[in-house]
C-alpha cells in the first residue's frame, strides 16, 4: 500500500479535526483562551504525523528500484480514462519537504496571532497544503488540474478574511488571474488528451502515456503555451505578475509565507514537469522568449523592489526577481540550469518565507509596514533584527548561502547559451544588493523612530526556529551537491516499478 494518498489527504483531514476541535470546545467551554490552543495543537500534530510519514518515505527505501520513489494508481472516472495516479520523485519530494518546513514555521510563528475563528484558519491552511502536495505528486493531468484549482479556494478565503486593509480586492485579483490562466491550461490538457486519443485510440489522462503522444510542431507549441501561461501567472513571469504584489502584501503572514514559499514554486514545478518534459522540442524553440521573460523579470522585479516603502511589498517584488532566475534556469535546457533553478526555488522558499515572517512580526508589534515609520529596531530587538539581516543578505545572494548557489548555477548555465543574457542578469544581483541593504538600513539600522516600549524581541523559542532555517540555508549554500543530485526530476519513461539508475553523479 503506497503512502502517497495518505500524504495528500492527511493535512485536510487533520485540518477538519482542528476545526471540529475548536467548535466543540466553543460549545462546551465558554472560557476561550485554552480552547484556542487545542485546535492549534491538532494542527501541529497533523504536521508532525505528516512529516513522519514523509520521513518514512524518504529514508525507508534502502532498496529503491528506480528514480520514481513511490507510485499509486486507482481508477477514478474510467469512462474518461481518469485515474488517481500519484507518483513521487526527487523533485516532488524536495518541494514537499520545503512545504512542510514552511508550514512548521507558520505554525510556530504566525498562526498564534490569528484569534478570529482560528479553527477555520487552520483548516483552510491545511487544505491549501493538501492542494499543494497533491499538485506536486499528481501524474494524472486531470487530477493535477483538480489540485491546481483546489488550492486556490482556501487561499482566497485566507486572504479575503484574515488579510490586511485592502484584502478583498487583492484576493479577487489573485483568484481571477490564477483561475483564468488555469482555464488555458485546461484547454491544453484537453487538447493533448484528445490528440492522443486520435493518434492511439486511447482516452487517458496519464502523464506518462501522454508524454509519448506524437505532436506536430505547431500543435506542440500551442499546447505548451497553454501550460506555460498558467505556470507563468503562478510563478510569476513579468507581464502577468500584477496579482502578486497585492496578494502577498494583503495576505495574513501565514498565507504570505505559503504564497511566496510554496505556491509560487508550483509554477516552477509545473514548468519543469510539464513544459520541459512533456514538450521538449517546443520548449527548446520557446526557450529564447522564456529566457528573455526571465531576465525582464529579474531586472523589473529588482528595480521595482528598490522603490518600495512597504516591507511586504518589497519582499513580494524581490520574489518576482528571484523567480526570474528560475525561469531562466529551467529554459537553459541544460541539466545544470535545471538544478540551479531547483536550488533557487528551495532557497527562495526558505529565505522569502522567513522574511515574510519577520515582516509579519514587525507588523504585529508596530502595526505598520511602512519603512518610513519603522527604524532602528536593532537596539530594541537584536534577535529579530539579526535574523532579518541574515535573511535579507541571503536573499541578495551572499556566497555561502543557498540563494547564491542557485543564482550562480543558473548564471553558469546561461553563459554558454547567451553571454548577453547572463551579463544582463548579473545587473539584477546588484539591484538585489541595493534593495536588500536598503531594507536592512531603514528597518534595523536607522535612527529609532518608534517607542521602544512597543518593541518586544523574539522569544528564544522563535529564534531557535529561525536558526533552523538559517542552518538549512547554509547547508544549501555550502554543500548543495546531495540536493542537486537528489532533487532532479525523474525521467519520464521510468516509473517506480521498473528499475533503472539514471542519476548523474
Amino acid at each position: 500500500m503506497s503512502p502517497l494518498p495518505a500524504l495528500v489527504l492527511l493535512p485536510i483531514m487533520g485540518g477538519g479535526l482542528a476545526w471540529l476541535t475548536e467548535r466543540i470546545q466553543l460549545h462546551t467551554a465558554t472560557t476561550s483562551p485554552p480552547s484556542r490552543n487545542a485546535s492549534w495543537w491538532m494542527m501541529l500534530a497533523t504536521l508532525i504525523v505528516e512529516t513522519l510519514l514523509l520521513a518514512g518515505i524518504t529514508f525507508g527505501h534502502p532498496t529503491r528500484t528506480g528514480p520514481w520513489l513511490e507510485h499509486f494508481s486507482m481508477p477514478w472516472i474510467p469512462t474518461m480514462g481518469i485515474a488517481v495516479r500519484l507518483d513521487l520523485d526527487g523533485l516532488s519530494l524536495s518541494l514537499i519537504w520545503l512545504s512542510l518546513i514552511l508550514c512548521f514555521l507558520c505554525a510556530c510563528l504566525a498562526t498564534r496571532q490569528v484569534t478570529v475563528k482560528s479553527g477555520a484558519f487552520y483548516f483552510l491552511f491545511l487544505m491549501t497544503l493538501t492542494g499543494i502536495i497533491g499538485t506536486f505528486v499528481a501524474t494524472d493531468l486531470f487530477l493535477f488540474f483538480f489540485f491546481w484549482e483546489l488550492m486556490l479556494v482556501p487561499m482566497f478565503v485566507l486572504i479575503a478574511v484574515w488579510g490586511h486593509e485592502d484584502r478583498q480586492r487583492a484576493a479577487l485579483k489573485f483568484f481571477m488571474f490564477t483561475q483564468g490562466s488555469g482555464l488555458l491550461m485546461l484547454l491544453s490538457i484537453l487538447g493533448l488528451v484528445i490528440t492522443h486519443d486520435r493518434e492511439t485510440g486511447v482516452l487517458t489522462f496519464d502523464y506518462f502515456a501522454l508524454a509519448q503522444t506524437p505532436l506536430s510542431p505547431t500543435l506542440s507549441m500551442l499546447l505548451m503555451l497553454g501550460f506555460f501561461i498558467a505556470f507563468a501567472v503562478k510563478l510569476p513571469v513579468v507581464p502577468v505578475h500584477v496579482w502578486l504584489p497585492d496578494a502577498h502584501t494583503q495576505a495574513p503572514t501565514a498565507a504570505s509565507v505559503l504564497l511566496a514559499g510554496i505556491l509560487l514554486k508550483t509554477g516552477g514545478y509545473g514548468m519543469i514537469r510539464f513544459n520541459v518534459m512533456l514538450f521538449p522540442d517546443a520548449a527548446i524553440h520557446f526557450a529564447p522568449i522564456a529566457m528573455g521573460l526571465g531576465v525582464v523579470g529579474v531586472l523589473y522585479g529588482a528595480w521595482l523592489s528598490c522603490a518600495q516603502n512597504d516591507i511586504k511589498r518589497l519582499i513580494a517584488y524581490s520574489s518576482i526577481s528571484h523567480m526570474g532566475f528560475v525561469v531562466l534556469g529551467i529554459f537553459t535546457g541544460s541539466r545544470l540550469g535545471m538544478q540551479g533553478a531547483i536550488i533557487q526555488m528551495l532557497a527562495h522558499g526558505l529565505s522569502a518565507g522567513a522574511l515574510f515572517l519577520i515582516a509579519g512580526a514587525i507588523q504585529d508589534r508596530l502595526h505598520t509596514r511602512d519603512m518610513h515609520r519603522i527604524g532602528g529596531l536593532w537596539a530594541a530587538m537584536p534577535r529579530l533584527s539579526a535574523s532579518g539581516l541574515f535573511f535579507a543578505v541571503a536573499s541578495l545572494g551572499m556566497p555561502g548561502l543557498g540563494n547564491f548557489t542557485g543564482e550562480f548555477l543558473v548564471l553558469l548555465a546561461t553563459w554558454p547559451v547567451s553571454p548577453a543574457i547572463a551579463t544582463l542578469t548579473t545587473v539584477g544581483l546588484v539591484l538585489a544588493a541595493i534593495y536588500a541593504l536598503r531594507m536592512v538600513n531603514r528597518v534595523f539600522l536607522a535612527a529609532p523612530r518608534v517607542d521602544p516600549l512597543l518593541l518586544k524581541d523574539l522569544p528564544a523559542r522563535q529564534t531557535a526556529v529561525f536558526a533552523c532555517v538559517m542552518i538549512f540555508l547554509v547547508v544549501l549554500g555550502l554543500y548543495p551537491q546531495p540536493f542537486m543530485i537528489f532533487s532532479g526530476p525523474s525521467p519520464l519513461s521510468v516509473t517506480a516499478t521498473t528499475s533503472r539508475e539514471d542519476h548523474a553523479p
Binding site: I77, E149, A160, L172, F175, L183, I194
Partner: protein, 485 residues
Amino acid sequence: MIGHDVFLPTPLPVLCVGITVMLAATAWRRSVDRSFLSGMVTLLLALAFVGHHTGTAPDNGDSLFIQDRWTNYTAILIMLSSMCILLMSWRDGTHDRTTLVDEYPLLCMLGALGALTMVFSANYMPFFLGLEILGISLMGLVTFRHRPVMQGCEAAMKYLILSGVSSAILLFGVGLAYGVTGSLRFMPPITTGDVSPALPVAATVMILIGMFFKLSVVPFHMWLLDVMEGAPVPVAAFLAVVSKIAIFSALVRYFGTGDQPPFLNDILYVVIILTIIGGNLLALRQTSFTRLLACSSIAHVGYLLIAFLCPGRLQSGAITVYLAAYTASTLGVFAIVTAMITPERPDGTVIAQWKGLFFSHPFLASAMSLMLLSLAGIPPGIGFFAKFEIAATGVEHQRNLLLGVLIIGSIIGLYYYLNIIRVMMTAPPLPSASLNRHVRPELMALVIVLTVIVVIGGLFPARAIHPLLPVSPVVPAMQNEMTMH
C-alpha cells in the same frame, strides 16, 4: 395515426390523477398543508413510475409520446426539482398569511405536468400542449408575490405577452413544417423533392426561435430578468431550472444529437457566443440576487449549447453531468436565498444585504459559497467536472472560437460569483441581532442534501456519467429517412 392502444409514459397519467385529486380536495375544503403534501406524494408516485408506460410503442415511431433513457433522465430531474421547489415554497415567509395559497402547489404541479409532457412528447401536439400548460401555470405562479403587488403583476404581464408571442412564432413554424412534410412528428422538417428548400428552413428557424424565447438565450432573453425578479423566489427557481430543462430536453429531442445542418450550425454559433458573453456581462452590474441568477442561468444555457453543438463520444456525458450540476447548484442557491427571506427581512434578495453572512449563518454561507463555486466551475463542486466535460467536447471538435468564449465567460462569471462570496465575508456594519437565526428545518435539510450531492458529485463524478444515455434514439430513425429520400 393514433391507434386505440395509446402509448403513454406512466408518470403523465399519475400526475394528471394527482392534480385532479388536488383540485377536488381544494373544492371540498381548503388547506395549504394538505395541498402541499398531496403534491409531494403525487410527485413521489410519478417518480416511482418513471420507467413504466402503458400501451405499446408503434414500430414506425408515429406515436404521441416517446420514452427512453433521455426522457427518463430529464423527467427525473424535473420531478426532483419540482419537489425541491414545493419544499421551498411550503411555509414561504413572504406569503400573505391572510389568504390561502393552496392554488400555489396546484399550479406548481401543473407546471411540472407541462414540463413532463414536453419531455415525453414525440409529436408537435403534446409538445405544444405541454408548453402552454407550463406557460400558463407559470403566469399564475409569477403573480404570487404579495409584497410589491405591482411588481408581480408586471412580471406576469411581461411573461404573458412574450410567452404568447413566442408560442405564436413557434406555432407558425409548426404549421409550416406540417405543410412541408404532412406529418406532426417532432423532428425537423425534411424536403420531399418539389417543395422549395427555403420552406423547411423557415419552419425550423421559427420553431428554433420559439424555443430560444423560452430558453431565453441572448437575443431573446430580455424577459427573464424582470420576470424572475418579480416572481417569488421558488418560482424564479422553477423558471430557471424546471422550464429550462424541459425546453432543453425537447430541443435535444427535436434536433437530435448528430451533426446539425450548416445553417443551424451558424445560427447556434452566433447564439452561443452572444448568450455566454451577454449573460455574463449582464450579470456584472446586478444588485439583486434573483436578477444575477437569471443572468447566470442565461450563461449556463450557453455553455450547455456548446455541448449540444459538439456531437461525439463525450457529448452525452457532458450534457448529462452539466444538467445535473446546474440543477443541483442552482436549486441549492435558491434554497439558501429562500432561507434568507423572512417576513422581517423581505429584501433578502438584495446582494448588499448579505454582508456578514459568514458570521451570522456560517453553514448557510459556506454552502452558498460551495454552490456558487460549483456554478463557476471550481473544485470540489460538481460544476467543475461539468465545465471540464463541456470544454472536452469543444476541444474534441476544435471549436476554438467557442472555447475562447467559454473561457472569457468563465472568467467574468468567476468575478461576480466571487463577489457575492466577498460580500458575505465582509464584516456586517453592526452586529445584527435582529437577524433571524432560525432557518426552517425543511429548508435546512434541503440545503444539506443538495450540498452533499454537489460535493459527492464533484468528487466521484464517475457514477454520474456511468448510466450514459444514448441521447437521441430519434437519430437513427431520422437517418433512415434521410437515406430513404
